[in-house]
């Protein structure tokens, strides 16, 4: 009985819209003459054939951003969990604080940071990492950097939680058994933090794959992701069936990815029961 409000909420705000989206994805027609349900499976076929590169690019950018976020967050989360001491809460707040500012403003800030005449681009030009007269904005680098930054806390916080829960005595025990610090880290800390890694990567990858703001503001047309196409189909072309079909394909692809991922790392990591 206590579940009822939750289930009701899910039914009304998730299952019903999802069902309608599925229904819509099989419609044909246009805004002038209206839409009709015609089992138009062609919408799915067109979506895959015409927008394959955007789908692939979304998975690619989201994948790279997830790995980068993991590499950046792990040391930070580790340090806060094990060395933070009484500053832990303050340090965590510092990770989260920038995210009190809205998503859009933060992305716009990146536009300024990576500006052609800005410090970052000039320094990189000085180091010959960017050609003179070259730029970072309107490149895939800028898009991936933006996504990585915007989803960082979704990675850092679950990592912190799982690292924080590790019983320090286990590491001491490993060291007592003549494991080096590095070996203790690899054999004890990393496996025990896996639930955090799994949760963090999923929380980062899933929204990142559907993102379109970063590609829109920081990328060139060549860097646009499937989210941009869906946005334009919905709002610019009012081609609701095609947009709905694409949303379903993206959802399906992510779901399959998550299942494969869960198989590979083991479902107990996913549910966190290893802790």
């Amino acid at each position: 009985m206590l579940l009822a409000p939750g289930l009701g909420f899910l039914a009304v705000f998730f299952v019903v819209p999802l069902g309608f989206l599925g229904y819509q994805s099989l419609q044909s027609g246009n805004i002038d003459f209206g839409y009709a349900f015609t089992w138009a499976f062609g919408n799915y076929k067109t979506a895959v054939t015409d927008y394959r590169s955007e789908f692939v690019r979304s998975i690619e950018y989201a994948g790279i951003a997830t790995v980068l976020a993991l590499l950046l967050s792990y040391p930070v989360a580790y340090w806060i969990a094990f060395r933070g001491g009484r500053w832990k809460n303050l340090l965590l707040l510092m990770i989260v604080a920038p995210f009190f500012v809205t998503y859009l403003i933060r992305t716009l800030a990146w536009e300024t940071i990576l500006s052609d005449n800005g410090l970052v681009v000039r320094t990189l030009q000085h180091l010959h990492l960017v050609s003179p007269g070259g730029h970072l904005l309107a490149t895939s680098t800028a898009v991936v950097a933006g996504i990585t930054y915007n989803f960082l806390p979704f990675m850092a916080l679950p990592l912190y939680v799982s690292l924080e829960q590790i019983d320090q005595r286990l590491i001491e025990a490993a060291q007592d058994l003549y494991a080096s610090n590095w070996k203790a880290f690899l054999r004890v800390t990393v496996p025990l933090s896996l639930p955090g890694v799994v949760a963090g990567t999923l929380l980062t990858f899933i929204p990142a794959a559907g993102d379109f703001i970063n590609a829109q503001l920081l990328g060139a047309p060549q860097n646009h992701m499937i989210g941009n196409v869906i946005q334009s189909k919905f709002l610019e072309l009012t081609d609701y069936p095609a947009a709905a079909a694409m949303s379903f394909i993206l959802m399906g692809a992510i779901l399959v990815g998550v299942i494969l991922y869960a198989r590979a790392v083991g479902t107990e990591q996913l549910s966190g029961s290893a802790v």
């Binding site: 805004i31 839409y35 859009l104 904005l137 060139a220 047309p221 610019e236 072309l237």
Partner: protein, 393 residues
């Protein structure tokens, strides 16, 4: 002026964020068939409502720089006793249409008495065609006589039964003289290797194609498959060559001022608003585009009150103030092109530098160089899809 522009930029872009949130809204809106809430009433009751709900684009009305009040609206309220609920919630035609089409298609009111849509996008014509716009009460708009001649018989509303122009604007090229020699032609903009990665195109198909078709020697007011393909291929090549860095709404303006862009396809009013001495705007030598934003009364809006307001803004002295502002009272104007005869004379008294600005009160010679885009092509699903695929994929 710069801080206003930043604000404008943020608001425009906030719409992109808003778009993400509205998807489920649109879905829900399309879901139920609903019942007719308000049928179209033909006879109009001539009684003013207490509030006029007016949805407009950002930074598109006279504004007091200090108090952020809109003096023309305050005066209207004082004269007529109608409070104007003025909301700047239109950022582009498509997403605004997406927002209101759900309720309108179910015969529900959208709680707005006036909305403003552009003639070089398909949605203005669609609103009228679908019967989602109320007929104006022309008996309440004697000032319609002040409407400039060229605006009297547009194809989407030949007798101006449903719409009246709010402002017009020209589309041309802007460049920053600190970064480039003058960019005076579309050919230079799209093909000069020195500008590679330093220019943007507008994301509005009508604007961009008008400029390129003129550069190709084609007529943008009669689009054929051949002229469309020629223009499309030329823009696509500039995208593939990475000459074009992005497709933008009016967010190109701050990038131009910052120096990220050397030149851009651009709307005249944006550049007049920036007031940056290094940024210049011109009609390309092959010709530019002209567009007009039109006021409409969406179905269910209060026709009489909206018509009385339209009559008010078609008073030359009112439009003159709205357009040019008044430096003495710290009021900034709209700085686009007013559709009202006599507005220039009124503006001259308030702010001569604006009244003599060629971008705001263009001469007949400038106006002879700007063209309208084919309204049929705006509704061609094939063209639209191709265009959207280019700019978003």
């Amino acid at each position: 002026m710069t801080d206003q522009l930043t604000r404008q930029q943020l608001l425009k872009r906030a719409a992109i964020g808003g778009a993400a949130i509205t998807f489920p809204g649109i879905l829900a809106a399309c879901g139920s068939s609903g019942t007719k809430a308000s049928g179209g009433t033909t006879s109009v009751e001539q009684k003013l409502a207490s509030t006029l709900h007016f949805s407009n684009w950002t930074l598109y009305i006279d504004t007091n720089n200090k108090t952020h009040a809109h003096p023309s609206l305050d005066t209207f309220q004082k004269e007529k006793g109608v409070h104007v609920d003025y909301v700047e919630d239109i950022n582009d035609n498509a997403s605004f249409f997406g927002k209101i089409q759900g309720p309108l298609s179910r015969g529900q009111s959208v709680n707005r008495d006036i909305v403003v849509l552009t003639d070089n996008d398909r949605y203005l014509a669609l609103m009228i065609k679908k019967g989602w716009a109320e007929k104006l009460d022309k008996s309440a708009i004697p000032n319609i006589k002040n409407l400039v001649e060229v605006q009297r018989h547009p194809t989407f509303d030949p007798n101006r039964e449903y719409s009246l122009p709010w402002q017009s604007g020209m589309t041309g090229i802007a460049y920053n003289d600190k970064l480039t020699d003058p960019v005076l032609s579309v050919t230079d903009l799209l093909e000069n290797p020195k500008l590679k990665g330093k220019i943007t195109s507008l994301n509005s198909m009508g604007d961009a194609l008008t400029l390129v078709m003129l550069a190709n020697g084609d007529d943008p007011s009669h689009v054929t498959d051949k002229s469309f393909n020629a223009a499309f291929t030329r823009i696509k090549k500039a995208v593939d060559d990475k000459q074009i860095r992005q497709f933008t709404g009016n967010d190109y303006a701050p990038s131009l001022a910052k120096g990220d862009l050397a030149a851009a396809m651009s709307w005249s009013g944006d550049i007049a608003q920036i007031g940056n001495s290094h940024i210049h705007w011109n009609v390309p030598k092959e010709g530019g585009a002209l567009w007009t934003d039109n006021m409409l009364i969406p179905k269910g809006g209060n026709v009489y009150t909206a018509s009385v307001y339209m009559n008010y803004v078609y008073e030359p002295s009112v439009m003159g103030l709205m357009e040019a502002g008044d430096p003495k009272r710290n009021i900034t104007g709209i700085y686009y092109i007013p559709p009202v005869i006599g507005a220039k004379q009124a503006a001259l008294k308030l702010n001569p530098s604006v009244a003599n600005n060629e971008l705001i009160f263009p001469s007949a010679e400038t106006l002879s160089k700007v063209h309208l885009f084919d309204s049929k092509a705006l509704n061609n699903q094939k063209y639209l899809t191709q265009w959207q695929n280019l700019i978003s994929g």
